[in-house]
């Protein structure tokens, strides 16, 4: 039986379940969430305006620009387009990217990430990234909702590959199975001193 035949069988499930799933529309975010987002957007706008208006005497242009950081899956040699992370000027943070699974069904710890800033002026230069990892949903822990946060600063040559080992993440009684990692990459573009 193939995945396709399986999908066909899935189409024959009850009307109620299909109807329920069909009815999903954009859900309203909670009021608090909306205000946090509005505040974040406003703060970002203020920061961008301040950066634009501040006088510069070091010849660094700080107009907003976009750099790209790619996380490559070196085990397959392919780049997952969804791992492309847009970094804007300033201290920037990528969206959380979920690396699902730490067993044979997904990504493992020590996952290599190649960080490339596609900006010619940063070629062969040292760049600093902070990679923070959040692990959650570990079913063998007493509380399956436990979250474990870990972060590490990497200073690497542009284009270098970073990674980490099980020991960095593991702890006694901590089973890395059936869980997910959220990886957030942060970089301080202002420290690179290049026109963007």
């Amino acid at each position: 039986m193939s995945g396709k035949e399986f999908l066909e069988a899935l189409g024959d499930i009850s009307d109620e379940k299909l109807q329920c799933a069909m009815n999903i529309r954009r859900r309203k975010r909670s009021g608090g969430g909306v205000w946090i987002r509005v505040a974040c957007v406003a703060a970002t706008l203020v920061l961008v305006l301040l950066a634009l208006l501040m006088p510069r005497d070091d010849g660094i242009v700080t107009a907003p620009g976009v750099l790209q950081v790619y996380a490559y899956d070196l085990s397959s040699g392919e780049i997952d387009p969804s791992t492309a992370i847009l970094l804007k000027e300033g201290v920037v943070q990528s969206d959380a990217y979920g690396w699902c699974g730490l067993d044979s069904y997904g990504w493992g710890p020590g996952l290599p990430l190649t960080l490339i800033l596609e900006e010619a002026e940063l070629a062969e230069r040292e760049i600093a990234f902070r990679v923070s990892v959040e692990i959650g949903g570990i079913c063998y822990r007493p509380d399956p909702t436990d979250k474990f946060r870990w972060g590490k600063q990497f200073t690497v040559l542009n284009g270098d590959t970073i990674g980490w080992t099980n020991n960095d993440l593991d702890s006694p009684g901590f089973f890395l199975e059936d869980c997910y990692m959220d990886i957030v990459i942060t970089a301080d573009a202002t420290s690179w001193g290049i026109p963007l």
Partner: protein, 186 residues
């Protein structure tokens, strides 16, 4: 127009019935066909086939709920068309297929143990074990072939949450199917 009125039109056989269906369900059919076929021309043909199928099926059929009934026809026709298209062009199957294939413990054993109807019943029971959000996400992904982005947008959550949740559901499904196959084989 209410579903009941549209159904009544189909029973009376004026062609207005098709126009009404197109007006009410056309967007849904196109969206679903596009999700599966990723080709506007094929999707449009699939939608037309859906209307023909509907015309042939009602009467005698009198579905309780028109939305899932029509969605099912479109889905089946699109999948059939996709099979034909793949055979012709040797295309790689969609990501959704590959993701689900990981969940089938052992293809042969499932096939031996369960026929299509039994598999549907098993899936139905499995879906009952999920919380509503996980169930709907699962169906959006593998029932309606929504992209991760579309699901995240629809549920108002991040892409990583959708991926994590789908990953967990697939893992649960893998375990659930393995147990069910054991019961049938044993």
């Amino acid at each position: 127009m209410e579903d009941e009125q549209i159904l009544e039109l189909f029973w009376q056989r004026p062609e207005q019935a098709i126009r009404e269906v197109d007006q009410k369900f056309g967007a849904m059919c196109r969206w679903l066909a596009m999700n599966i076929l990723r080709n506007a021309e094929d999707a449009e043909e699939c939608v037309n086939d859906t209307y023909h199928g509907l015309w042939d099926a009602i009467p005698p059929a009198r579905p309780q709920k028109l939305t899932p009934y029509i969605a099912r026809i479109t889905r089946n026709l699109a999948l059939k068309r996709l099979t034909y298209g793949n055979a012709q062009k040797r295309q790689v199957s969609t990501v959704s297929f590959e993701e689900l294939e990981e969940c089938i413990p052992c293809h042969d054993s499932v096939e031996t143990a369960m026929d299509a109807k039994e598999l549907t019943r098993t899936l139905e029971r499995f879906l009952d074990t999920l919380d509503p959000e996980s169930r709907d996400m699962f169906l959006r992904r593998y029932g309606f072939f929504d992209s991760i982005e579309e699901i995240a947008s629809g549920f108002g959550v991040s892409r990583s949450k959708v991926k994590s949740q789908l990953f967990r559901v697939r893992n649960k499904l893998r375990i659930y199917l393995a147990e069910e196959v054991q019961i049938y084989v044993g």
